[in-house]
């Protein structure tokens, strides 16, 4: 009979190293999987870990895909640190795409022209406000009726998706689109400016980098960030100190909603340039993994966002280069998270053999 025993003091170095260790173990298991699939493990690992970083086109694509993941995860980190379990970033992302896309469509239809210095902030702000409004519903229901924010935020994802469906199938449908579900293409004036010529990477990536620094300062160097963390770690202590739990709830949800909405706006006005029912491909959910692999730390999130983006792109490259099945990408994501949790557990606890337990004694 094994038992998990809390270690008196978990190693700090190991806590930091744990994601790297998990990554290493994932790579090891991945290599094993490649062998079992009859592929050269080195070529397989290279498709996932080297090819996505090979050359300007691939690098910009990794950054493009990492941007929404990082943005969503930054907001979620604030939530999770405050013990607010928002798992509906996906819905807030969709709402951001709707509000930003709606503004872009309006600008397109009235022929609104202005410099990118004016239009881009407007589009991004519209997205952030949209996501914020969607998260505010969660905050309100939790605050007023004590409804579980986990359920409410998750269910609102489906509502957001249906709202998007309604808009692209009916209200905003392209009149020249043969009844197909998409809006007209936005006017070029509303597109996000490019960051690297001949690539799809837009200024959103730069905004995300700046926000990583802003969130680091907010979480670790601001009074409000401190209050949120205390509330998350010990609600009783926060109450005793006079920190408002309501303020923490609203701040966390509004901030994370704004970030997811911002990501949605960037996706709509960045690579998509129109709205379709398929605006998000699960960014809001993948961001939850990004958030935890990044240890709820803005800099960690930056790295894990890039890593997950590499996984997703590597999955495609593995298919086109080596004929690997698509399902591997999901397996790797799951493995990484699972191994990270295992590493964390083993850092905080040790496994002890406590001898045979008499029948009926194995209560737990």
């Amino acid at each position: 009979m094994f038992r998990l025993e809390a270690r008196p003091q978990p190693s700090r170095a190991m806590t930091v190293a744990s994601p790297l260790l998990a990554l290493l173990l994932t790579a090891g298991l991945a290599a094993l999987l490649f062998v079992l699939l009859g592929k050269n493990p080195l070529a397989g690992l290279s498709a996932y870990f080297l090819e996505p970083l090979n050359g300007r086109r691939q690098l910009t694509e990794v950054a493009l895909k990492a941007t929404p993941l990082i943005l969503c995860a930054l907001g979620l980190a604030v939530c999770y640190r405050s013990n607010v379990w928002n798992i509906g970033a996906e819905g807030q992302f969709v709402l951001g795409a709707i509000t930003a896309g709606g503004l872009a469509l309006w600008m397109t239809s009235v022929g609104f022209k202005a410099s990118a210095w004016i239009i881009t902030p407007l589009i991004l702000a519209a997205g952030a406000l949209g996501g914020m409004a969607w998260a505010a519903i969660v905050a309100f229901l939790r605050d007023r009726f004590n409804a579980s924010e986990i359920l409410v935020s998750l269910m609102l994802v489906y509502v957001a998706q249906q709202l998007l469906n309604y808009l692209v199938f009916v209200t905003w449908k392209d009149p020249k689109g043969f009844s197909m579900p998409h809006t007209p293409t936005f006017d070029a004036a509303t597109w996000l400016p490019n960051l690297v010529p001949q690539s799809r990477l837009h200024v959103g990536a730069l905004v995300a980098l700046v926000l990583v620094a802003v969130f680091w300062a907010f979480i670790f160097r601001s009074w409000r960030g401190f209050q949120l963390q205390v509330g998350g770690l010990s609600p009783a202590a926060a109450r005793y100190a006079g920190f408002s739990a309501r303020a923490a709830l609203w701040t966390a949800l509004l901030v994370s909603g704004a970030m997811a909405g911002l990501a949605g706006a960037m996706e709509a006005a960045g690579p998509l340039r129109q709205l379709t029912p398929y605006v998000s491909t699960g960014y809001g959910f993948t961001a939850i993994i990004v958030c935890f692999v990044g240890r709820l730390h803005p800099v960690g999130i930056l790295f894990s966002g890039v890593l997950l983006s590499m996984f997703l792109i590597g999955g495609e490259l593995g298919q086109s280069r080596l004929g690997l099945p698509n399902a591997l990408t999901g397996v790797f994501q799951g493995l990484l998270l699972f191994l990270l949790l295992a590493c964390d557990t083993l850092i905080a606890y040790r496994v002890r053999w406590v001898g045979a337990v008499p029948a009926g004694g194995a209560g737990r």
Partner: protein
């Protein structure tokens, strides 16, 4: 502390050894030369052995969906069988619509593929963007409507299959209500619902069709739920425009009838299966590849159907009476000869408005714009104004 560190070192070491061992066995294998893409392009003088033509497919579902993607992949395999070492094919499955599709298509183009097939509607805009960047590569888009000098479109005529299935459904339904599990209310799917209903009405003029929409092409649990709700609502013969076998299997469980879609699904529901509506893309894919090889490829729109040997209704079950089989065979012969048109006026929509005048035969432009249910279909199209 030290004990713990030791343990972790051991673990890391074990991991490293495992990786090294695997890497080692990888090295000892004859390295499969991951042929660099540039090699294919950087050899214009007549080489001793010509490089194989590289062709790529982009799929929306998994190749094992037994439906739409499976049928396209069979077409790809037929191309491989036909051209052997003169061709090298690649595919990427489960590619989401939108931003990801553009990256996948661009990467395939950069990898030296000379022709790329994107097999679902949502790849239209991404493919159009990439086509603009690679004028020397041929792009083929299934079920779309936009073309470019190096991008053309192709489609099938599933409504012909659906019409023949309708004839059978009209006979086999005892309740007088048949059901349809729809994916998205786009013209292609509405054509199928309407053709299914019109076919059934040739046998039983009073038949009613109920429709449930699932807003997805492939989601077995959702498709099964929709099928169950149709059955609960009194439908006893089902057809679907989704890609899995779930509807058929749900019918089997409930002792009702249903059809296979996209490929032969008779094995999934021996009792419920009435027939399978299929499409065979291999003829088109072989032709397209040959045109690239011969340098005769030009942009156009191809609509394949029963006449071209692409669409068919196969494996009609033994429970279907002889006179109905004969009727289906007659219709099929008419389609093959090009004399029979499913949408022949008068066609009324389910509000009673005439959509096609008496004796008029629908042309392609009419079929492209179908946005109504024919008389006999219950309800309103979701998201219709």
């Amino acid at each position: 502390m030290t004990e713990m560190n030791k343990r972790f070192l051991l673990k890391v070491a074990a991991g490293a050894i495992a990786v090294a061992a695997l890497a080692g066995c990888g090295k000892s294998e004859p390295p499969k030369a991951p042929e660099p893409a540039k090699k294919a392009e950087a050899a214009p003088p007549p080489p001793p052995k010509p490089e194989p033509l590289k062709a790529a497919w982009v799929y929306v579902g998994p190749v094992g969906d037994a439906g739409w993607t499976f049928a396209h992949d069979n077409g790809r395999k037929a191309v491989e069988a036909e051209y052997g070492d003169k061709i090298k094919t690649t595919f990427v499955e489960k590619v989401p619509y939108g931003a990801d599709a553009e990256r996948v298509i661009r990467d395939l183009a950069a990898q030296g593929n000379k022709i790329i097939f994107a097999t679902s509607f949502g790849y239209m805009e991404p493919m159009l963007k990439v086509a603009g960047e690679f004028p020397d590569i041929k792009f083929e888009h299934a079920t779309g409507y936009k073309t470019a000098p190096n991008m053309r479109i192709y489609d099938s005529s599933f409504y012909q299959d659906a019409y023949m299935a309708g004839i059978i459904a009209g006979k086999m339904s005892k309740t007088g209500t048949i059901g349809f599990v729809g994916s998205f209310p786009i013209p292609e799917v509405l054509r199928n619902i309407n053709a299914f209903t019109l076919g059934a009405q040739t046998v039983n003029p009073k038949i009613k069709t109920k429709v449930v929409w699932v807003s997805t092409w492939f989601d077995p649990p959702k498709e099964a739920e929709a099928a169950q709700s149709l059955i609960n609502g009194g439908a006893d013969v089902l057809l679907q425009n989704t890609d899995s076998t779930a509807v058929l299997q749900t019918a089997e469980k409930n002792g009702k009838f249903a059809f296979g879609w996209d490929s032969d699904m008779s094995a999934f529901a021996p009792k419920a299966h009435l027939a399978s509506a299929i499409v065979d893309w291999s003829g088109y894919y072989k032709r397209a590849i040959k045109e690239v090889m011969d340098n005769t490829w030009k942009t156009e729109r191809t609509v394949l159907g029963v006449k071209e040997g692409a669409n068919d209704l196969i494996k009609i079950a033994d429970v279907v009476p002889e006179d109905i089989r004969k009727k289906v065979a007659e219709v099929k012969d008419g389609m093959k000869a090009g004399t029979f048109e499913v949408f022949t006026g008068p066609v009324l929509d389910n509000t009673g408005k005439e959509r096609l005048a008496k004796d008029a035969k629908a042309d392609q432009a009419w079929k492209d714009k179908v946005d109504f249910y024919v008389k006999g279909v219950d309800g309103k199209i979701p998201a219709a104004k």
